[in-house]
Amino acid sequence: MLECISALLILLFLYASVSKFLDFKTFIKEMNNQPLPNSWTPFLVWFIPCSEILLSVALIFERTRLLGFYGSFVLMGLFTIYAILILSHVFPYVPCSCGGVIKRLTWRQHLVLNLFFVTLSVVGVIAQRKKSFHSIVITKNSFV
């Protein structure tokens, strides 16, 4: 089950990050189009795709998977909060929902997708912690 959850998160993060790098100019424009200060753009256009790639790598390996699940929860949680703020009209305008084929989604659909992946990350954290706990218990028992 853990590998399936990891695979789904890797699919999302790697697809999103590679799409951004393949069309980097458009990504910068889309980022400028968001209701955030434009001074954040140079930082965000590198931080978001790079963190998505790092999380994908962390989710591949058993040793770093728990860290990857925690990171996925934080990143998807932030995206979810952003989608909620946009849908609540906290910002002065509603920007386009951009990024690969995901741009075809409305903000409401975005929110549903994000909530699904946040839930998946939480399930991943719980399952991985349980697995790590069991392996520690088994290792301790084998020494006794």
Binding site: E3, C4, S6, A7, L8, I10, L11, L12, F13, L14, Y15, V18, S19, L22, D23, K25, T26, K29, M31, N32, N33, P35, P37, N38, T41, S56, I60, F91, P92, Y93, V94, P95, C96, S97, G100, V101, T106, W107
Partner: protein, 109 residues
Amino acid sequence: MKKFKVSILSLAVILSVCGAFATRPHFDCSNMTQYYYAGGGYSQAGTEGVNYVCTAESGTCTYYTTDGVTFFPCQAGTYCTANCFVREDGKPIKPLKPVTTSANTQKSH
């Protein structure tokens, strides 16, 4: 079992990278000069995010042209300049710079 675990993760990596390449836009109209429609003609829109933004409302935000005569829809949404950034309380949130390029108004055909 170990083979299955490795193959499912490898499949995810391959699918995501190939999917990103497959859905990569071949022609991106937003890299061309953008125009907006106003008062029966098309004017240069300026730089996105600096001079204008496209909001997620219905309609066409910007257009592009290849010959200066025919204009095609490019970005969806509504063309917004400085006024769109003003909240109901009248305080500007993110003021935009005015368009610095000379407004190149062209009539549509």
